[in-house]
């Protein structure tokens, strides 16, 4: 049995003077989440369905890009000129891809680790539960940012390039933070909800159904209350209805539902908080049965 090195050659702590190193040991602090995220993203980008999904998710952005080009270069197409609402509409459209991507990329993130008993392998190493969740969160959040924040910001840049001036951005300075904040909320909600559901099961299929069910069921209940009350004051029941409501406020548009935006914001905060609490309970190296 060949072994080429007897022991791993460690640098001593005095070599680097780095307090993050154990005496005579390894560089352990704060890097583990990045290792998890990097591996997760590499694994994701190797999957063909993910690539196809990404390509499809970028089609609306490409269409918007053509719209911007046409309105900037052809007077006949001036009616296509973009407005701040274009960005709101674009992010609204992307909600569909956010949903599919969350289901595809997120459902197995923790469920697969639970199924194969990998949690104890992770947590017996120098990383905390929070770092584990952070690593998984970054995988999903990065994927989602590539269908929300990244194309939206690119569209803004494309507008500046084709218009040849910064006037649109200057006149709508709030757009950059609005796109960023809305994408962040959208991503955080989808990622935390999915991670929490993924931590509840060993089956990624079951998790996918659960996530879809959560969205569709709450939307259906809202739709029923809408018919019954002839109003939209129960929009807070729909998980993603709250996102729509908050999005309108962030983009300085009149909210489309009568639910106070503060209530929608509170529901979103509650959902994210509950998801974090579930993750805190479920991400353990040991399953304690009492």
């Amino acid at each position: 049995m060949p072994i080429y090195r007897d022991r791993y050659r460690r640098r001593s702590s005095t070599d680097s003077g780095d307090p993050g190193r154990v005496e005579g040991g390894l560089d352990v602090r704060g890097r583990a989440w990045a290792v998890i995220a990097a591996y997760g993203l590499r694994a994701l980008t190797r999957r063909k369905p993910f690539i196809y999904l990404m390509i499809v998710a970028w089609i609306p952005a490409i269409v918007r890009g053509v719209q911007i080009y046409a309105s900037a270069n052809f007077p006949q197409a001036a009616f296509l000129a973009i407005t701040p609402q274009t960005f709101r509409d674009f992010l609204n459209q992307q909600e569909l891809f956010v949903f599919f991507l969350t289901v595809y990329a997120g459902s197995g993130l923790i469920a697969d680790d639970i199924r194969s008993n990998a949690l104890q392998l992770y947590l017996s190493r120098p990383l905390t539960r929070a770092q584990y969740v952070a690593g998984k969160f970054v995988v999903l959040a990065t994927a989602l940012a590539f269908v929300t924040w990244v194309p939206a910001m690119l569209l803004l840049i494309v507008e500046v390039l084709f218009a040849g001036s910064l006037s649109f951005v200057r006149n709508n300075l709030y757009l950059v933070p609005a796109i960023s904040v809305f994408s962040m909320i959208q991503t955080a909600l989808a990622a935390f909800l999915m991670l929490a559901l993924s931590s509840l099961s060993k089956s990624r299929w079951f998790v996918a159904v659960l996530y879809a069910g959560l969205g569709f069921f709450t939307q259906a209940v809202f739709a029923a209350t809408r018919i019954a009350t002839d109003g939209t004051s129960f929009s807070w029941i729909a998980v993603f209805g709250n996102l729509v409501q908050i999005g309108d406020v962030i983009f300085r548009l009149p909210p489309r539902y009568t639910t106070p935006p503060a209530v929608s914001a509170a529901v979103l905060a509650l959902l994210i908080g509950a998801s974090i609490a579930v993750l805190g309970r479920r991400i353990r190296a040991i399953e304690v049965v009492t």
């Binding site: 049995m1 194969s116 008993n117 009492t290």
Partner: protein
Amino acid sequence: MMAETEPIASLDHVGVRYGTQWALADVSAAFPAGAVGLLGPNGAGKSTLLKALLGLLKPDTGSIRVLGLDVAARPLDVRARIGYMPESDAQIPGMTAVAFVAYCGELSGLPSADAMQRAHEVLFYVGLGEARYRNVETYSTGMKQRIKLAQALVHDPDLLFLDEPTNGMDPKGREEMLALIRDVAQKKHISLILSSHVMPDVESVCDSVFVMNHGTVIMHGPIASLKSPAGHIFEVRVKGDRPAFVNAMRQQAFECRETEGDFLRVVLPPEAGPAELFLSAAKVGAQVRHLKPSLPTLEDVFAQAMGEE
């Protein structure tokens, strides 16, 4: 740095509770450097002890030090220097063996290039060199045990926790695994704690042993001294009323237990001789058909510890 004589791990009145059940009850122990066995029946608290040593379980009472570090205060520093081979099947899905082991190395703090190099080395070391590009999920039970050892070794730990490392292995695979573990302990100078309920495994690898039952350590010490006989051991086969013979032995405070086949193992105190056996057999109308002096085994130590409890 730790002094050579310092224990690699010590527990001071440690209690771990699952609900109302104490899995570890007021355990105080100091594990010496080298290969230490953790013996006990299923449910004795061995795995719980390992998990508490890793800092995965917070003790309800007491404190734990591993490699000179307080586990409660510096769990990450402790885990950076420990390799853990869990009892159950565990892998990260969708990975080849080399990617899996390298990933585990990176998670333990190795730079990416070093982790990959070490992964190749360790996989050759555990005998999976030829299969290192195969998906771990396609491995046989024996190979899965080996890869669990590889992932525990990849970052060159100072201390290794092995939880039932020969579980599910065929006799040949088991021998090879034990040889590997012996090599790790003796040639690589990595201290290890081997938890098992298979006594020959512990006996063939470890220098000292801790016997656990009902969440407490009931006996510990170097195997050689624990095995030094406090009397004579005989392998006995009787014809006739066997239970009555066993009772007669026990009434005289002789340790007597059933083993494989028809044989009994009887431990006689130094002052007693085989004549006592024949007398007892005669009293209950049994005949001694086989009598052979035997060497003490870890099984005797274990049986004695359980009996005393």
